[in-house]
Subunit: 224 residues, 2 copies
DNA sequence: TAGATTGTTAATCGATTAACAATC
DNA sequence: TAGATTGTTAATCGATTAACAATC
């Protein structure tokens, strides 16, 4: 799993904020590429995202030397490098756990699949949902999680169960050897340090928006 | 709209990170209250969320003095104060714009309504969707946005249209006088500084998760 | 009172921005 | 060469943590 090219010699872990911006850079680069642009400067790349040129260069420099002084960055080359750094130069077999309204919608959401996150199995504990089919996949009981995980090589889980069930299900997920959880349940999850968790909390986002509106603070906040 | 109690004398705007944590505090306080707890200390409050006691006190102190030395915080009182600070002590009439898979799911998502964000109108430009009903609301054409906004007093918009349409629709939203946008489209929006935007970018979150898994960085990242 | 816990100040840490020599 | 732009160092800024007098 270790990869000498993914991290600079110092081997320091990239700050959280850097990774978020790298995702944005990648998407902007893909847009510029679609328009036939061969190279891009740090100031061009940042301008579209409201990020300064020094910040762009510093972020990219964290992972290696990708630029050409006087020229900028070759878009195709940088896209390949960033996809590799972010780990989306591969397929991630992913389980969707919890098939309420949000879970069912997320199954159909195209943005995941186009980035390599393939939902390969659905889980829920509601007997009424068992055997239902969504997007060609059959809903399985949670007790099948361990077996299905090894059968299908599942590596990530998207968790959209009710808050009360979240920790219990997270424990099951961890026990199966799944290494990452995208958590939509509005509770912090307790997992071993070897397991990655990213929390997406829609109410928190909307509350932040309400605060900004009330306090007349405009502008763009990128929450990921 | 200005409210002398919402901000401390200095009138400084709360840092982004503080607001995010305040949302988490509020939810934790509500959980503690359901268990009948009357007061809570900063270390208790932080412990459940993985946040240090000094950080909790500093965050809360930003908005005023809520604690009692030797005792902690009175939960009921602090909940009321935080709801007020976040602006969720009221109803926010909200428009859902874009009724793809994600938009339709978000209509049904309970987490919004329970926080005071009431979806009162649906908009889409697809003629096939016009007149459809979801959760008791009829889909309207976007050209009705301005009229409906003033009729229903709409204040916020949840934007879940395709990336290509996002900026154009955002311009329409702004023109109607709506003051906040929760943006699910994977593009940065350009709006006047008087309009608040919070971006929710699911692919960015998942990419971050992939990075963490590949680089063996575990733990919990709260993205809001 | 003694024990607990706050609000706040000072110290530390990390992240962003500015500046510029090196490079194409 | 002259102009453009990088990668990196130093300076600035902001956020977190630690410590503690004040308070109940």
């Amino acid at each position: 799993m270790a990869d000498p090219l993914r991290q600079p010699p110092g081997d320091k872990l990239a700050p959280k904020a850097v990774i978020g911006r790298v995702s944005l850079y990648l998407r902007q680069l893909e847009a510029s590429q679609r328009q036939g642009q061969p190279t891009i400067s740090s100031s061009q790349l940042g301008a579209a995202l409201g990020i300064g040129d020094a910040q762009v260069r510093k972020d990219l420099a964290f992972f290696g030397q990708f630029g050409y002084p006087g020229i900028g960055y070759r878009i195709e080359e940088l896209i390949a490098a960033l996809r590799r750094i972010l780990g989306i130069d591969r397929i991630w077999p992913t389980a969707m756990i919890g098939l309420g309204n949000l879970g069912r919608a997320l199954i159909k959401y195209r943005g995941f699949r186009s980035r390599g996150f393939h939902i390969v199995a659905l889980f829920d504990n509601d007997p009424k949902k068992m055997g239902q089919t969504h997007s060609g996949l059959t809903v399985r009981p949670l007790e099948d999680l361990a077996r299905t995980t090894s059968e299908l090589g599942i590596e990530l889980a998207i968790l959209s169960v009710p808050a009360e069930a979240a920790q219990r299900v997270a424990d099951q997920i961890v026990a199966c050897g799944i290494l990452g959880i995208l958590n939509f349940a509005p509770v912090p999850l307790n997992v071993p340090p070897t397991v990655g968790v990213m929390a997406v909390d829609l109410s928190v986002q909307l509350e932040h928006l309400a605060y900004k509106v009330l306090n007349g603070q405009g502008g763009i906040s990128h929450a990921g």
